[in-house]
């Protein structure tokens, strides 16, 4: 990888991404064994700096770092001085003084990870674990990994795979990162949402857009449902929860229209009964649990590559 940080899916070349996915696959094979732990990042300190609640992402990074034998510090905005108004700068300088080698940052402000990496506040490697409505690059990596696992052979990219991403594109960092990464890997991406949930300017993205889920469903290999936040309704992005669910939710009828080999994805946490029905989430086509599992392997690969660990398979003491 050329970049010292992972802030955007755009930091990765196609080659970088394929290498990361290959590394993740190797790491997954090792940690699926009886001894889940590798010594590669022993002595390194990884800080999970979470300004926003996200138990799932945090424990995924924590597990990944621990399996590589790094020391992990969880720093959450709640219960720390951040809630009393400490700035990002002061927090960063504190972590620098404590000798953090990598900072995994989740922040409600778009660009917070980039600010941290560009500033002189801290020297550590910065990994974006979700910044506002901007990006969530490790989510895109784990999604690509999961798609590859189910639909493509070992060495290939995602050429020819057609991916539907459905829901709140406007506010979704998962969508932004996936559009960049999946198209880079050769996939064809179609975004589906009501017009209110597309950003102005989306016409410049390398994707097709559609307002009609039923038209797109039979033609895809992957359908990725995005979480709908409750507060969107209050701001008139759509009339009611039920109308959204009827027009853009994945239900058993739409599930039946999917092609035989297609898969159903969701970055979690799900609103069962809103964007995805319970039977869709639990269907045999659903790979949502695989996404969670693969998240650990992919994040291990990212930490491993960025923190320059010893070669995989070195003396496993």
């Amino acid at each position: 990888m050329k970049s010292a940080h992972l802030l955007s899916a755009d930091d990765l070349s196609k080659q970088d991404a394929l290498e990361l996915l290959a590394t993740a696959k190797e790491l997954a094979a090792i940690t699926d064994g009886p001894n889940k732990k590798l010594p590669t990042l022993r002595g390194k300190t990884v800080v999970n700096l979470f300004f926003e609640d996200s138990t799932r992402t945090r424990i995924s990074f924590e597990t990944a770092a621990k399996r590589l034998s790094a020391d992990v510090i969880n720093f959450s905005a709640k219960g720390s001085s951040v809630s009393k108004g400490e700035s990002l700068k002061d927090t960063a300088q504190t972590l620098q003084a404590m000798g953090a080698d990598a900072v995994v940052i989740r922040h409600e402000s778009s660009g917070a990870a980039k600010r941290l990496a560009d500033s002189k506040w801290i020297q550590a490697t910065v990994i974006n674990a979700g910044d506002g409505t901007h990006e969530h690059p490790t989510q895109a990596l784990l999604d690509a990994f999961t798609i590859k696992q189910h639909l493509r052979s070992k060495d290939s990219d995602l050429s020819g795979v057609k991916v539907l991403i459905v829901g709140d594109i406007l506010h979704s960092r998962v969508a932004r990162s996936n559009v960049i990464l999946l198209t880079k890997l050769g996939a064809k991406v179609v975004l589906v949402a009501p017009p209110t949930l597309f950003p102005v300017g989306v016409e410049n993205w390398p994707v097709d857009i559609s307002y009609d889920l039923d038209k797109e469903i039979p033609k895809c290999d992957v359908i990725m449902m995005l979480r709908i936040q409750q507060e969107r309704m209050a701001n008139s992005f759509f009339p009611t929860e039920r109308e959204y669910s009827r027009r853009y939710g994945l239900n058993s009828y739409r599930l039946s229209k999917l092609s035989k080999s297609s898969i159903v994805m969701h970055p979690g946490p799900m609103n069962r009964g809103l964007e995805i029905s319970a039977d869709s989430a639990d269907d045999i086509k659903s790979v949502i649990i695989d996404q969670v599992r693969n998240g650990v392997a992919v994040r291990m690969a990212v930490l491993y590559q960025l923190l320059g660990g010893a070669p995989i398979g070195a003396a496993n003491d």
Partner: protein, 434 residues
């Protein structure tokens, strides 16, 4: 007595100028090689001092980011002999007491005119008119009223304000921003905001208010000034209004004449400003509008913020840029070097017309015998490199840092006295730290 020899006026004539007792006492034709004691104006341009109708001075309330004195120093360093203090201080300039305080602080600083702008509504809340009459009749003699920072969004309040100021031949300076269309807005809405995931500030939120207020102004036959127009559509609306004879004037900031929204891509809050940086197409339309005079004037929207308000993540950062000291150079770069405007037109847009709009008596006067000696002498052929840490302003949030810009100010004369000489502030303004 100050003498300037062999200096160019904006009409192209080369003259010798004598200044005495606050006035231009004599002007005589120069051979171009006259030699007498005084200031050598050869190769330089003498203009009436610049006049800014949109300055945030932060005093009272945020003296850590700017005071009336430091703002005045910044102004004269930029060639301004009159500035207009926006009302969004703390307390808000919505009473005769506060505007008189600011006026007095300006007099104490004593190096340029400081004209307070009064709030349109009490506390800038947009609900109830402030005591416009009391401010107009105060020592500060307020004529411009603005809730700048906030839009007077309620159309009925706006209508009443436009009507009410007619008694005093006042003018409402509107910050055109529909608040509902700009909920949590962070930057121009477009290709860049879609990519980097910042909430958009659409052009229509500005244009909808401009259109509405033009129609209201026509209906009640009053005067409207549009602060910091930033969009191509806004220029079109003002052009339309002027063609119909509606009494509307408009301003553009130096930063909107030069910078575009792609600068936001690295999330550096130095580029965070309200209204936001727009696209190349808007910048070109603004330049064209200014050249034609559809946009009447340049105004700085000088907005000082202390370091901690910019040294943070984008969303937490304050909106605004300081610009008094770079305004003239940016206008030379964008309007003179591009051959869109002449020096006479620059002087018109940055001095004569703003003084006319605001009714500032001794400012923006054509340089003739007997005119007020508020003057700026600029070397148009020299360049300088902006170092934001060397600015006179107490705040350093200037977006042109490290840029090489044309136009070096050597002398500024205020009320017949040199306040800047050889590019340095004279002792005149120093020591008034009360």
């Amino acid at each position: 007595m100050i003498k300037i020899r062999n200096v160019n006026l904006v009409d192209g004539s080369i003259v010798n100028v004598e200044i005495d007792q606050g006035l231009v006492k004599a002007i005589s034709k120069s051979t171009g090689k006259d030699n007498f004691d005084g200031i050598d104006g050869a190769g330089k341009i003498l203009m009436p001092g610049l006049v800014d109708l949109h300055t945030h001075l932060r005093e009272p309330g945020r003296e850590d980011s700017e005071t009336v004195l430091t703002g005045s120093e910044s102004a004269v360093a930029g060639g301004f002999t009159a500035i207009s203090a926006m009302a969004n201080t703390n307390p808000v300039a919505d009473t005769a007491g506060v505007v008189e305080q600011i006026y007095r602080l300006g007099k104490n600083a004593g190096i340029c005119d400081v004209n307070p702008i009064g709030a349109v509504t009490k506390g800038l809340k947009g609900e109830q008119l402030s005591e416009i009459g009391a401010m107009a009749e105060s020592i500060a003699n307020v004529r411009i009223f603005s809730d700048d920072g906030n839009c007077v969004a309620d159309p009925l309040i706006m209508r009443r304000a436009l009507e009410y100021v007619k008694t005093y031949n006042g003018i409402i300076a509107q910050h055109a921003q529909d608040p509902r269309l700009t909920l949590n807005a962070q930057m121009n809405e477009g290709v860049i905001s879609a990519k980097i995931g910042l909430a958009g500030w659409p052009a229509v939120a500005e244009e909808a208010i401009i259109a509405r207020d033009i129609l209201l102004t026509d209906h009640v036959q009053s005067r409207l000034h549009i602060c910091h127009v930033t969009t191509a559509g806004g220029v079109e609306l003002v052009r339309w209004a002027k063609q119909r004879g509606i009494q509307v004037t408009a301003e553009v900031t130096p930063h909107h004449l030069l910078l575009t929204d792609d600068l936001v891509e690295n999330y550096d809050p130095i580029y965070k400003v309200n209204p936001p940086l727009r696209t190349e197409k808007d910048v070109m339309a603004l330049r064209q509008g200014l050249a034609e005079g559809v946009i009447d004037i340049v105004a700085t929207d000088h907005a000082p913020h202390s370091a901690e308000h910019k040294d943070c993540e984008w969303q937490s950062a304050a909106f605004g840029m300081v610009g008094l000291e770079t305004a003239l150079s940016v206008v030379i770069k964008t309007m003179i070097e591009t051959k869109l405007m002449t020096w006479a037109e620059l002087s018109d847009r940055m001095s004569i017309r703003p003084a006319l709009i605001a009714g500032y008596k001794n400012q923006g006067q054509k340089i003739v015998e007997g005119s007020a000696a508020n003057l700026v002498l600029v070397d148009p052929n020299s360049h300088w490199t902006v170092d934001r840490h060397n600015l006179k302003s107490k705040s350093k949030n200037n977006p042109f840092d490290k840029m090489e810009l044309p136009g070096v100010i050597s002398e500024v004369i205020y009320n017949g006295n040199l306040v800047v000489q050889n590019g340095k502030q004279t002792s005149l303004g120093l020591g008034h730290n009360d």
